[in-house]
């Protein structure tokens, strides 16, 4: 009976296991090998030792890509978390018609990366775009947003507010699991709403914050569509994200070896970040019903 169940288990998970071998581990090993070669896919790969990795050390584009990705992550992640949390607290109230507001805020997240970005290119267009028209209406000469090297990256952060609905629904689900007795008890003890937020809402929300944090960081490290469509990495490489750089090396210049090495660096960065995040959990993430050490 036990053996039968074990066999059944392995049969049932076999689709995923096959996928894991041929679409994850196999490709990862192939790209590890490729990262030590020069390979244009037309001719056979040529082993070059660690040349690709050494080349990275002196590659200004790679340094720029790292800088852009890190900078964007540092600004986007808090922006996304705080925005999502504020929205969740706003639409948490039990009011007539509240679900309409929730729907309106969540709706933009169903737009594809391409449509989302295309809309915002038009919104931020220096001429005829809604943002600069509204600025002009109050007497401000709007900037050139995506065409300005010092503003392009921040324009991408700015437009991302339209996708706050995603983190909002997750925060909302988290907020709704906080038992009301806690608030009632605190209110009886005379705690004001500011204190209740810091002493009850925020600590009990740490698992949700953690989940959103992980999701948000993984997403920023994959940023591609907005940079590819809105700015194509420019102007002056100011939005050259790491994934965009990998894409160019692989599919525009067919430097499969160098692109693989870059992808491995991306992988290692994400691994280390996730590991650190999960390790950090015990210092600040607090599950209800658990004793704090």
């Amino acid at each position: 009976m036990n053996r039968q169940r074990a066999v059944a288990f392995y049969i049932s998970i076999s689709p995923w296991l096959i996928g894991f071998l041929f679409l994850t581990i196999g490709p990862m090993l192939l790209s590890l090998y490729a990262s030590f070669t020069d390979w244009d896919l037309l001719t056979a790969p040529v082993w070059n030792g660690g040349n690709n990795y050494i080349q990275m050390l002196d590659d200004p584009s790679f340094h720029q890509a790292l800088k852009v990705t890190a900078l964007y992550t540092l600004v986007y992640v808090p922006f996304d978390l705080i925005g999502g949390l504020l929205l969740a607290m706003l639409v948490q109230a039990k009011l007539r018609g509240i679900s309409v507001f929730r729907t309106i805020i969540y709706l933009p997240t169903v737009f594809s990366g391409v449509a989302f970005v295309v809309v915002w290119i038009w919104m931020l267009n220096p001429r005829g775009g809604l943002i600069n028209l509204l600025l002009a209406a109050v007497g401000i000469q709007g900037p050139r947003w995506l065409q300005d090297p010092s503003l392009a990256l921040w324009s991408l952060v700015l437009m991302s507010f339209w996708g706050w609905g995603r983190s909002m629904v997750i925060f909302l689900a988290g907020l709704l699991t906080i038992p009301s007795v806690l608030y009632e008890a605190a209110a009886i003890d005379g705690a004001g709403s500011w204190k209740r937020f810091w002493k009850i809402t925020l600590p009990l929300l740490t698992p949700t914050i953690f989940f959103n944090l992980v999701l948000s960081i993984i997403m920023t490290f994959q940023t591609f569509t907005s940079a590819f469509i809105a700015t194509d990495g420019g102007p002056l490489d100011s939005t050259l994200f790491l994934v965009l750089y990998i894409y160019r090396e692989a599919f525009q210049f067919f430097n499969m070896g160098y692109a693989s090495a870059l992808a491995w660096v991306l992988f290692i960065i994400i691994m280390i970040l996730t590991l650190l995040l999960f390790r950090s959990q015990r210092f600040w993430v607090f599950y209800l019903g658990e004793e704090r050490e």
Partner: protein
Amino acid sequence: MNQETNFEPSILKLRGRRKWLRYGLLIVTAMLFLAPVFWMISSSLKPEYQIFATPPVWWPSPPRWANYTEALTTLPFGRFAVNTLIIAIGTVIGHVLSCSIVAYGFARLEAPGKGFLFILLLSTIMLPYPVTMVPLYIIFSRIGWVNNFLPLIVPAFLGNAFYIFLLRQAFKQIPAELEDAAHMDGANFLQILFYVILPISTPALATVAIFSFQAAWNDFLAPLIFLHDQSKYTLQLGLSFFRGSYQINWAYIMATSLVITLPVILVFFLFQKAFIEGIGYTGTKL
């Protein structure tokens, strides 16, 4: 959201001035989120000379509906729609089938090595596509799958870590007694899955199907890498190509963006509850 009735924090029942203040805030926020949609629709209905007009035209009158037909025939968007539909439907079928079978194994069956494999499964949720896209391209180009829908559909039949996790959570909540009778009758796990588990798991299955559909419909990077001929393009590739062409007519671009988003918006409104709850209930524990 049944928690809402159980845990509804009483403080949140706003009254009097605070209630109207909250409504005011909600309306301002809603306007902020609707502004791009308004501008999209308004721009999509303008004749070309009104797009950059000063003073700006907030709402065109009369609206120029011909923009829609012209925009969608400038490029073969009908063809793109068919391509996208083939890929999206194939992907949804693949994910629902494979993920429910795998999820059942992780939820109900026991075997040595299961714990380790489950951690392996969870860790692949964190693995972003850009990391494997280069070797996948090398592999699929070797077996002649480039410029073909197969690299976009076949992987769906081999599961997806996130959807497997989601379904496993749902299956775990089903009382085991329901399956006992089927066990007695000597049913195998596939029969139990298809006749006992799946019929009562439709909310979770719907969530996976919706997520999978939305992701496939909106995907850009994978089609960009694998589909090269215009006749194979998806809607997203078509829109990207359209906007990159020399003569940008913003009315056309906005019209196209709206039309290609419409199916997802429709699915969203039809299954809104599953949509928002699905995201919610995956998001509370990790």
